[in-house]
Amino acid sequence: MSFFHWLATGSSRGIYLEQKKEPALSKPALPFYSAATLQSQPFQHGFDITKPLDKKQLTEIAAMAHIIDEHDGKALAKKLEQCPKKKISVVCADAIDDEPYVSSQINPLLHHRLEIVQALNWLADAFEADSRFIAVYKNMSALDTKIPSRIESVEVRRMQGRYPMEIRAFHDLGSDTLIVGTAALLHLYRAVTEGRVQTTAFVTVNGNCITNPCNLEVTIGTPVSQLLERCGLSLDPSFVVEGGAMHGILITDPEKTAVRADTRSVMAFHVDRKEQLYNCIGCGRCIEACPVGLNPQKLYQCVTTHHLQKAVSLGLNHCIGCSTCSYVCPSRMDLSYVISSEKQKLSEKTEQ
């Protein structure tokens, strides 16, 4: 974003959100196993751990353990197979949680440091990567535990950035890096040492109507309602969200939805927002908050008054759907929902 763009619109690549991570972050992940995890038989991979493992062995173990990387939802084995095609120079462990309330990646890192670092070293040696580091989000205030700057020779790099930071941070890293989630590394460590199949996922259960918010190591497949009962509900939630407070997907029926490998968090919110009657008072806060430097207020007006051509000329297609404008809007208007659904409709129309 050029200086002139900041001068003109005052937009500064997004805003800092208060993270409110605290009660869940410092408590270790509590186990919440169901029968499936307890009865899962360990498998024998037959390699001896004393010698350094090479790429083929690691992918084989990952395949046998069915590890799914929660950073991007792909199977770890498939990811490792694709890597030999291009030279890997950096291996990075992703522990960035820039969504408020969510700490499902930073929590296992803090409480299982040695195992995760060990798995990271195996991976880095297997791929002869020049450098390896753990990426952690920097702008987290009011934390009880101190985040170390080095975990036995592996550097913990504090990545700094405004809200939709995870996509942009990893985009700047370039294409020859292998990014693996911390939970996947932990499962890889367990598969290598104890030969355990991945049957659990790390989920943060948080929100303003949860009595004691915490991180749970949950068996994959347990329904969300059991999670909520496990953590206790002080109020009747207005809605339950899965996958982060800013971007999540609304869960309409908690009994039927199950925890998947890459669910990062389950949130229950109670909102006493009466039927909001304000319309836009033109304060211009969404223009400053938009990370791509668009004018959400004018886009919203163009879309609601069906001036699509004007909306496209104002940059409707550049909207990355980060919903910071709706977060910041004092009149509680659903700017990002209207704009991104309009963008969706427009792209479908152009495809036909």
């Binding site: 974003m1 002139f4 003109a8 005052g10 985009h171 809605f239 800013m246 304000y278 759907g321 990002s336």
Partner: protein, 333 residues
């Protein structure tokens, strides 16, 4: 789960538009204390009547327009306070009520209610009252005199310093009187120190942008310093211009109304500068004393033009990183 559909960001910023309205109201209320100290209880009568008429009018129009009565929408109260601040303390009540009715019924309701008005309703109401009853609007009383609730003959009407300024005279007012507002002037808009304090409060609460009032006051100060009357030093003429009368009040409260100012930084600065120049042009040409209100009304009409100018300028001024902005936005999707 209740039935209303909730969309993407499930948490919202703590600040709501109620807090923004209450910020503006909070920034205005201390002026009432000072004017009560100067002019007695009539001030509260005028303020109360003005706020009440504005609120009731706005609620009725709100009901007629959107069929949804939103009793918590206080933006009309802010308009009422601003109008009651700019009228003289001994003004007959029908002038204030007429200004309020014009402000809400003509300047705000037909355009669509709170956020959609094109002109600042307070500016519209005051301009209407100034043109209709210009003599009642400029008859002030000496401060520190208790005004009776009902106007009777004991009230002495005086000319304010702006009248002497208009005739080219030199109002010999010391700096302390100017800062404290201890001269015959409008009800609440002459207390410079309190207005500056409220300006800092508003800037701290991010309700207004600091460069809008500043970019308005700089051209006014320059023009005032440039053609100062013969026997007066430029600095004193600037002080007379800014603080003797309601110019500072207009700069802090009416110019920065969020709905009617342009939205981009550069267009805001241009808007402030043009408003300043226009105020001085109006001040020298028009026979009326208080001309800032008319300049603001005219500039509100041009505010969308500044926005469009800024939108036209943006792609032009960054040909180089146009691609990066494009592909940065593009491949993130």
């Amino acid at each position: 789960m209740n039935s209303t559909i909730h969309h993407a960001p499930y948490i919202r910023h703590t600040e709501s538009s109620r807090t923004i309205m209450s910020d503006a109201a909070i920034a205005l209320v201390p002026l009432y204390f000072m004017s009560y100290f100067y002019y007695g209880s009539r001030v509260l009568l005028v303020g109360g009547v003005s706020i009440l008429t504005c609120l009731i009018c706005d609620w009725i129009c709100g009901y007629l327009l959107q069929r949804k009565l939103n009793l918590r929408d206080l933006s009309a109260a802010v308009t009422g306070i601003i109008i009651s601040m700019m009228v003289p303390p001994a003004v007959p009540l029908y002038v204030v009520v007429a200004a309020d009715l014009f402000a809400i019924l003509v300047c705000k309701a037909p355009f669509g209610g709170t956020g959609k008005n094109l002109f600042n309703p307070a500016a519209g109401g005051l301009a209407f009252a100034t043109i209709c009853w210009s003599n009642q609007m400029f008859l002030y009383t000496q401060p520190l005199q208790r005004l009776p609730m009902q106007l009777d003959e004991t009230v002495t009407y005086l000319q304010g310093p702006t009248a002497t300024l208009k005739l080219g005279g030199i109002p010999r007012l010391g700096l302390t009187e100017l800062l404290l507002g201890n001269f015959p002037g409008p009800l609440g808009s002459t207390f410079t120190l309190i207005i500056l304090a409220c300006l800092i409060y508003l800037i701290a609460r991010r309700a207004i942008k600091w460069y809008l009032p500043v970019s308005f006051l700089i051209p006014v100060a320059m023009i005032a310093a440039y053609n100062h009357p013969f026997g007066v030093s430029p600095l004193e003429s600037v002080a007379n211009e800014l603080f003797a009368g309601s110019l500072l009040f207009v700069a802090v409260y009416m110019l920065t109304d969020p709905a009617t100012t342009p939205k981009y930084n550069i267009s805001r600065i241009l808007y402030g500068i043009c408003a300043g120049i226009l105020t001085m042009v109006f001040r020298y040409i028009s026979p009326l004393e208080m001309s800032a209100v008319f300049a603001i009304l005219l500039m509100n009409a041009l505010a969308p033009a500044f926005d469009c100018f800024c939108e036209w300028l943006l792609p032009k001024m960054q040909p180089v990183n146009n691609e990066t902005a494009l592909d940065e936005g593009g491949n993130q999707q």
